[in-house]
């Protein structure tokens, strides 16, 4: 194993507006090593990898590849230099065949005419090499299962000659055997001197396959260690860091004894058997790693996706129901501020007034189906004042507002509609500090009015500041709920990772992971 770094990043920094997502990160990857990148959500792993693979440009800092300056402006440039990335989302074209996807950038042709036989022969060789001999080269990619699609995606990257390979959560959709096959290939590439950057939440995998790990936290470099020197427990500690809980003292709870929302054994796709309860005036946080099913859980409660079993009980529906549409949920006193406000929270091209009143037109702003324009204007301008939405007029289109002000409009819609239980999905994602503070105050005043709030957030600090209790989801299940008096960042991190460390075992990392490594080295 060569000790000179193959790829080196020097003080990489990335800002988005005022927000710094990556700060002075220096990382080195050697030829012939598998280097794992660890960190909680939003720690900057994906940002770092996107910079390395040319998908985004750094705000500051430089990179070197095999001793030469390396500053890719596009993914194509990075690939030309031998840096490949396999992203979390699939980048395949579903309607094209497996073979066409595998060789999309270099389809064998003669004068523009596809050479079908050659295409399929080449694809066959690649697939066989990756143990995918049961996958037909002519099958449309969309006809494959997600696991096979993921394998094809990985094979596409591995088939190209590369010096640095980045894998972002490659095993999320893979079965155990498929993962094993993948690890086999990665070890093969390591032998050939490829430098591999490997991102995964599955600490057992990381322990089994990586040579070194680098930990990022809040966009900053924490440490780089030899994997063999760490136990799973140590990794969790490094990822979570120390938990500053400065805001705790100022927190005022408004929780009452009266039940507002009770969810019993809700199951919906990825969400499995989730039970929770929220009292009036209570603020319940839900956290967990990306992909743990938090958003899906809220959607199932709200009827945006229809749950297959379980039930939801509200004051208006004490006997328990499973909502089959959001309109039923809203009628029963639920509100949901969605995570992706541009996609399903707001009518971007419409005005602030239209957005604010959208959910309550029949209820508050019409008589015999006729809109009451004056009332609409006065209520929406009250909302603009109350929430400090920065705009010229309420007739301005929402698209012209900043992210924070857009989010306030999305929330205003539900304040105007009113509800017993408010579900917030990442209420402060991508918005500035001032707007964030305003939303926190709003959460508090809602709970003071006896509303129940459920807040999904990746930002633990946010939940520490704003919640009475925090539930942790992992792999579609709600694994543990912590109260203000007994929570800590470390406990929550541990719970977040609990499903990804060998099932059933407590985290005696040494034995579990040690055994696994032994098994593989044989």
């Amino acid at each position: 194993m060569s000790q000179t770094p193959l790829l080196q990043t020097i003080k990489l920094t990335k800002h988005y507006g005022d927000v710094t997502v990556l700060r002075n990160v220096s990382l080195d990857v050697r030829a012939g090593e598998i280097h794992a990148l660890l960190g909680a959500n939003g720690a900057g792993k994906s940002t770092l990898c996107k910079i390395i693979s040319g998908l985004i440009s750094p705000s500051d800092g430089t990179m070197q590849l095999a001793g030469a300056n390396y500053a890719p402006q596009t993914k194509q440039q990075a690939e030309a230099s031998g840096v490949e990335i396999v992203q979390q989302e699939l980048n395949l074209i579903g309607t094209l065949s497996v073979a066409e996807n595998l060789l999309l950038t270099r389809l064998p042709n003669r004068g523009g005419l596809l050479r079908s036989r050659l295409l399929h022969d080449q694809a066959r060789r690649i697939l066989d090499r990756f143990g995918l001999s049961q996958v037909a080269t002519g099958a449309p990619v969309e006809s494959l299962g997600v696991g096979h699609q993921q394998m094809v995606e990985i094979a596409t990257a591995l088939a190209r000659q590369c010096r640095v390979l980045i894998l972002d959560e490659p095993t999320a959709a893979l079965s155990g055997t498929e993962s094993e096959q993948l690890f086999g290939h990665l070890r093969g590439l390591r032998e050939q001197g490829v430098g591999i950057i490997y991102i995964s939440h599955r600490l057992d995998e990381v322990a089994a396959i990586s040579d070194r790990i680098t930990v990022l936290r809040d966009g900053q470099y924490v440490t780089t260690r030899k994997t063999a020197s760490l136990r799973a427990d140590d990794m969790v500690d490094l990822i979570s860091g120390d938990a500053p809980q400065s805001q705790a003292a100022r927190y005022q709870s408004h929780r009452t004894d009266e039940m507002a929302l009770q969810v019993r054994s809700l199951t919906c796709g990825k969400v499995r058997d989730v039970s929770l309860q929220v009292h009036r005036g209570q603020r319940l946080g839900i956290t967990g790693l990306v992909g743990s099913g938090r958003t899906e859980c809220l959607r199932a409660i709200f009827g945006a996706d229809v749950a297959t079993s379980g039930e939801v009980m509200l004051r208006a529906r004490p006997l328990g129901v499973r909502f089959s549409s959001p309109s039923q949920a809203v009628a029963a006193g639920l509100a949901m501020v969605t995570e992706d406000r541009r996609q399903n929270g707001l009518l971007l091209s419409q005005s602030i007034a239209v957005n604010t009143t959208l959910g309550s037109l029949w209820k508050r702003f019409s008589r015999w189906g006729l809109l009451q324009g004056a009332h609409e204007r006065s209520v929406s301008s009250d909302m603009v004042d109350d929430l400090g939405i920065q705009c010229q007029t309420t007739q301005q289109s929402v698209a012209t507002l900043s992210g924070g002000n857009q989010q306030k409009v999305a929330i205003a819609k539900w304040l105007v509609r009113d509800a017993d239980v408010f579900l917030f999905d990442e209420p402060t994602r991508g918005i500035d500090v001032a707007a964030r503070r305003r939303i926190y105050r709003l959460l508090e005043s809602l709970s003071a009015q006896g509303k129940a709030c459920v807040i999904v957030s990746s930002d633990l600090q946010e939940l520490f500041e704003n919640c009475d209790s925090i539930a942790v989801m992992c792999d579609g299940r709600l694994v543990e709920t912590f109260e203000r008096k007994n929570w800590s960042q470390e406990k929550i991190m541990r719970a977040s990772f609990s499903g990804y460390i060998q099932a059933g075992d407590t985290m005696t990392g040494d034995t579990v992971i040690g055994d696994k490594m032994m098994g593989e080295s044989v």
């Binding site: 809203v330 509100a335 009518l347 698209a399």
Partner: protein, 318 residues
């Protein structure tokens, strides 16, 4: 407040009215016969059928649908009207109600299938275009049906006023349509659905009934358009109104209605109808050949849409 509203209207309709004015000036200069009351009367009496269709089409486009079946539904309702009046001796009133019901039902079926089952309305209404045309031929036995004076009065200028009842009803439909679009919950939901149907759903609103109703309204408008055309021609023509759906779409688009949904105005579509008709009448008077008329009309459509796209692009801050 009132003044700024006036100002807004001028901004909204100003560009279109300017185009219309320019056309009128160009034709008045190049033809001695154009700037006359008789031309105005001709145009006013040509446009009711297209106007009715454009009112319905505007709403359909706003909910991000499209209705290609309007020409065939116009012909079908005309056929129903004629056959009931001539063969069954119905009065014009009851025959009109029956014709509108048939067309409204067909439109509702368009809505139920496209909205309810999530099939693109382009395909569903294309199917209805064929079905309704075939039904028209079945109803009329593929023969024209002459009705005569019992319908003609509807399409002819009233004695003292140069406008026909059809024109007056069409203008009323435009006013109604614009009122529904801007002043009712229904209209607001239509705009919302066309802008982002998923956001509407997540706001706790069931959008399907509204979107389906819009297709039904488009059908009802076809019924009125059927009467307007029949009264103008005195006759049911089973092969009439072929391709008029494209003129209706063109009128809406010239008026600034977006094919991507969420944006449009019935009044603007009406101005679009006027522009198309002024162009047709004016070009005919100037003596332009049919072939060149088509080329010029097509160019005007594309240029109008282009200008609108640029207006929006410049209007956006980012």
């Amino acid at each position: 407040m009132n003044q700024s509203k006036w100002f807004q209207s001028v901004v909204q309709y100003g560009g279109l009215l300017l185009v219309l004015l320019l056309l009128v000036i160009v034709f008045s200069v190049s033809s001695n016969n154009f700037f006359q009351v008789s031309t105005l009367v001709t145009i006013a009496n040509q446009i009711p059928d297209l106007t009715f269709l454009a009112v319905g089409m505007t709403l359909v486009l706003i909910v991000r649908g499209i209705d290609l079946s309007v020409g065939s539904l116009l012909a079908l309702s005309s056929a129903v009207l004629g056959v009931l009046m001539v063969n069954q001796g119905w009065s014009i009133g009851s025959a009109l109600v029956a014709a509108m019901l048939v067309a409204g039902l067909c439109g509702t079926i368009n809505g139920l299938i496209s909205v309810g089952l999530g099939i693109p309305s382009f395909i569903v209404t294309l199917g209805m275009l064929e079905i309704a045309r075939g039904a028209t031929k079945v109803v009329t036995d593929s023969q024209s049906v002459y009705i005569g004076s019992k319908v003609e009065w509807f399409g002819q200028p009233l004695g003292s006023v140069p406008f026909s009842p059809a024109f007056v009803v069409a203008v009323l439909a435009v006013i109604m349509g614009q009122f529904i679009l801007t002043k009712t919950v229904f209209g607001r939901y239509c705009v919302a659905i066309g802008t982002n149907v998923e956001a509407v759903r997540m706001s706790g609103i069931r959008s399907a009934p509204y979107a389906i109703a819009v297709f039904g309204i488009s059908g009802l408008m076809c019924g009125l358009a059927g009467l307007a055309q029949t009264s103008r021609l005195s006759t049911v023509d089973p092969n009439g109104a072929i391709g008029i759906e494209l003129a209706a779409i063109a009128a809406c688009v010239i008026g600034g209605t977006s094919l991507m949904g969420g944006r449009g105005s019935v009044v603007s579509s009406f101005i679009g109808v006027l522009i198309i008709q002024v162009l047709q009448t004016g070009l005919a008077q100037v003596g332009v050949s049919d072939a060149n008329k088509q080329i010029i009309t097509g160019t005007v459509i594309v240029v109008a849409v282009l200008l609108d796209a640029l207006r929006i692009r410049w209007g956006k801050p980012t």
